[in-house]
C-alpha cells in the first residue's frame, strides 16, 4: 500500500461483504416464499423481505464504491486522503443509519414506520428501491456529500488522472440523481417518470462510469499496460454509455402514460446500450493480452475479465432481450425483468466490487497477492457464484417465457395466480441455484480470513 490512508477502505469492504451475505439470505427467504406462500407469514411478509433484499444490495454496493474510491483515489492522486478521520466517521454514520432502517423494516409494519418517521411531512416512502424514510434519505445525502468532499479535495490537491476524473463524475452524478428520490408528486405518471431518473440513470448511466473507472484502475495495476491506451478505452466506453443510456431511459416510458414517441426513442437508443458493455469486454481482454507483467494475483485478473463478460451478458444481452417496445409489451413486469435484474446487478456491480476487493485487500494486508491455496479458493467462489447466478437467470427466463405465454399471449389468457402455480418448478430450481450461490459467497469470505499456521506451507 503506497499511502497509509488507503487503509480506511478496509472497513468499507468488510461492511460491503457482510451486507452482501445478509442480502443473499433474504434472497433465499424470498425464493422460498415464491413456492411456499405462507413461509414466515405474517412475521416477515414478502414485501418486507424484498425491501431488505434490494436495499441491502444498494447499500453494500455503495459501501463498495466508497471503499474503492478511498483505496484508489490516494494512489492515483499521489497523496494521502484529505481526511481519513472524516472517512471513518462517515462509515459509522452510514452503517448505523443503514442498520436502523433495516431494523425498522423488520421490527414494525411499514405503515407504522411511515408514521414514526413522519412520512407525511415529506412523503417519499413506498416506491420500489426508494422505500427508506426521508430521514434515512437525508442521511444518505449527508454521507454522500462528506464523501465527495473528502475524495474531491484529494483529487483537486493532487494529481488528476482520467481514472479519478471519470470516477468522480460518476459519483457526483450518483449523488445528484439521488435528489430526485425526494420528488414524489401525486400524479402517478410524473412520479414514475422521475423515479426512473434515479433508477435507470444510475445503473445505465453514472454507475457505468464508476464501473469503468474501477475496472480501468485494476487493469492498469495488474497488467502494467500504458495509461494512454487505457484512458482512450475509458473515454470510448463512457462516451457510448451516455450517448445511448440517457435517451435509452425511454425504454421505461412505453406503458406508463408517457407519449407514444418514447417507443421509438426508447427502442432505438436502448438497443444500442449493449455497445459500451461490449467495448468493456474488448477492453478487458485486449489489455490482459497485452500485459507487460505477470501479476501474482491471478484471482483478481479472473474477476476483472468476469466482470466485463457477465456485465455484457446480464445488461447487454438480457437487457436487449426485452428492450424493444413490441417485445416489452409482453414481457413488461414479468420474471423476464427479474432475470435481467439479477444477472445485470450481479455481473456489473456486485462483480466489480468483488474485483477491487480481490485486488486491494491482500495489499492492505501487506502482501501483493494471497497464497496459492487461498487464491484457488477465491477462484472457486468466483465460479460457484457466477455459474449459479447464470442458472438463476436461466430458470427465471424459463419461468418468464411461460408466464408471458400463458398469461399474456395465448388466445385464452389465464389469471396471474394460476400461472404462477403452473411454473412453480422453475422457482424451486431457482432456490436450488440460490443455495449454491450462497456457498460461493461464503467461500469468498473464507478466502480472505487469516490462514491457520502451517496451512500455507502445506499447500
Amino acid at each position: 500500500m503506497q499511502y497509509q490512508s488507503q487503509g480506511v477502505a478496509k472497513l468499507y469492504f468488510m461492511a460491503a461483504i457482510g451486507l452482501f451475505i445478509a442480502q443473499i439470505i433474504f434472497g433465499l427467504i424470498l425464493g422460498l416464499q415464491y413456492v411456499m406462500g405462507d413461509f414466515l407469514f405474517p412475521a416477515i411478509p414478502f414485501n418486507v423481505a424484498r425491501m431488505v433484499h434490494t436495499n441491502l444490495l444498494i447499500v453494500w454496493l455503495l459501501f463498495g464504491f466508497m471503499g474503492a474510491s478511498y483505496y484508489l483515489v490516494p494512489e492515483e492522486a499521489g497523496r494521502e486522503l484529505y481526511s481519513p478521520g472524516l472517512a471513518k466517521l462517515m462509515f459509522w454514520i452510514f452503517l448505523i443509519a443503514g442498520a436502523l432502517t433495516i431494523v425498522g423494516y423488520l421490527a414494525v409494519p411499514y405503515a407504522t414506520l411511515a408514521k414514526i418517521t413522519r412520512n407525511s411531512l415529506l412523503p417519499t416512502m413506498g416506491r420500489e428501491f426508494l422505500e427508506q424514510p426521508w430521514i434515512t434519505k437525508v442521511g444518505i445525502v449527508v454521507v454522500a456529500l462528506a464523501f465527495l468532499f473528502n475524495v474531491g479535495m484529494t483529487v483537486l490537491t493532487g494529481r488528476k488522472t482520467v481514472v479519478t476524473v471519470v470516477l468522480l463524475t460518476g459519483l457526483v452524478g450518483l449523488a445528484v440523481l439521488f435528489l430526485f428520490s425526494f420528488y414524489n408528486p401525486d400524479n402517478l405518471v410524473l412520479d414514475k417518470y422521475y423515479w426512473w431518473w434515479v433508477v435507470h440513470l444510475w445503473v445505465e448511466g453514472v454507475w457505468e462510469l464508476i464501473l469503468a473507472a474501477i475496472l480501468a484502475f485494476v487493469l492498469i495495476k495488474t497488467t502494467g499496460v500504458d495509461r494512454e491506451v487505457i484512458e482512450k478505452w475509458l473515454y470510448v466506453i463512457i462516451a457510448m454509455t451516455l450517448i445511448t443510456g440517457i435517451i435509452g431511459t425511454g425504454h421505461h416510458y412505453y406503458w406508463i402514460g408517457t407519449p407514444t414517441y418514447w417507443q421509438w426513442f426508447g427502442s432505438i437508443f436502448s438497443a444500442l446500450e449493449p455497445i459500451p458493455f461490449f467495448v468493456m469486454v474488448l477492453f478487458a481482454f485486449n489489455t490482459i493480452n497485452q500485459r507487460k507483467r505477470e501479476h501474482p494475483n491471478k484471482a483478481t485478473v479472473l474477476w476483472a475479465m468476469g466482470t466485463a463478460v457477465m456485465a455484457f451478458l446480464g445488461a447487454g444481452v438480457w437487457g436487449f432481450l426485452h428492450t424493444l417496445a413490441p417485445v416489452n409489451y409482453y414481457t413488461h413486469g414479468t420474471q423476464i425483468t427479474a432475470a435481467h435484474g439479477h444477472l445485470a446487478f450481479f455481473g456489473a456491480y456486485a462483480m466489480v466490487v468483488m474485483t477491487i476487493i480481490s485486488y486491494a485487500v491482500p495489499i492492505m494486508n501487506g502482501q501483493e497477492a494471497k497464497s496459492n491455496r487461498l487464491q484457488v479458493m477465491e477462484m472457486w467462489s468466483f465460479w460457484l457464484m457466477t455459474v449459479s447466478m447464470v442458472f438463476i437467470t436461466l430458470f427465471l427466463t424459463g419461468a418468464g417465457i411461460l408466464q408471458v405465454y400463458l398469461q399474456r399471449y395465448t388466445a385464452d389468457p389465464l389469471p396471474f395466480m394460476l400461472v404462477q402455480d403452473k411454473i412453480a418448478l422453475f422457482y424451486w430450481m431457482r432456490v436450488g441455484a440460490g443455495v449454491i450461490f450462497i456457498v460461493g459467497a461464503l467461500l469468498f469470505v473464507l478466502s480472505f480470513l487469516p490462514e491457520r499456521k502451517g496451512a500455507a506451507q502445506a499447500a
Partner: protein, 143 residues
C-alpha cells in the same frame, strides 16, 4: 491505427455526445410535460385519489404487486384491477377479506385493517390508475 483515433478525439466525443444527449433528453422531457395532460388522467386526480396513493405507498403495496408493470412480480398487476374486478366494490371486498394469518400454502396478502374511508380512497386510486392512457397495456385483462 493508434494515431488515427486519438485519446483527445475520444474525450471530445464523450463531452460533446453527453452534452448533446443531456440537452435532447431535457427537450423531450419538456415536451412530455406538455403532452401529459391529455394522457395521465389528471382531471380525475382528486384529493381522495391523492390520499389513496399515500396509503398505497405507506403500506408498500408495490413490494408484492406491479402497478403499470413496475414493482414486484409476486402478486397480480393492479394497474387494471379496476377493470378486472369491474368496479370498486370487488376490490374493497378483496382487501377487506384477507385473513390475518394468511392462507395456508398460498401466497398471502396481509390484513391491513383499513377503515371504510381508507378503502374507498385506495379503490379510487386504483380506478384513477386504470384510466391512464398506457397505449393499451396490459395486453389483456389478466394484467
Amino acid at each position: 491505427m493508434q494515431e488515427i483515433f486519438t485519446k483527445s478525439m475520444a474525450r471530445n466525443i464523450y463531452y460533446g455526445g453527453s452534452l448533446f444527449f443531456v440537452l435532447l433528453f431535457l427537450v423531450l422531457t419538456f415536451d412530455t410535460h406538455k403532452a401529459l395532460p391529455q394522457r395521465d388522467n389528471r382531471a380525475n386526480l382528486t384529493e381522495q385519489v391523492a390520499a389513496g396513493k399515500r396509503l398505497w405507498e405507506e403500506n408498500n403495496c408495490i413490494g408484492c404487486h406491479t402497478l403499470l408493470g413496475e414493482g414486484a412480480y409476486y402478486a397480480p398487476e393492479l394497474g387494471n384491477v379496476f377493470v378486472r374486478y369491474g368496479g370498486k366494490e370487488g376490490i374493497k371486498a378483496f382487501i377487506q377479506s384477507r385473513p390475518a394469518n394468511g392462507i395456508p400454502g398460498r401466497r398471502s396478502m396481509p390484513q391491513f385493517n383499513f377503515n371504510a374511508e381508507e378503502l374507498d380512497a385506495l379503490a379510487e386510486f386504483l380506478k384513477y390508475a386504470s384510466e391512464i392512457n398506457t397505449d393499451k397495456w396490459p395486453p389483456n385483462v389478466q394484467g
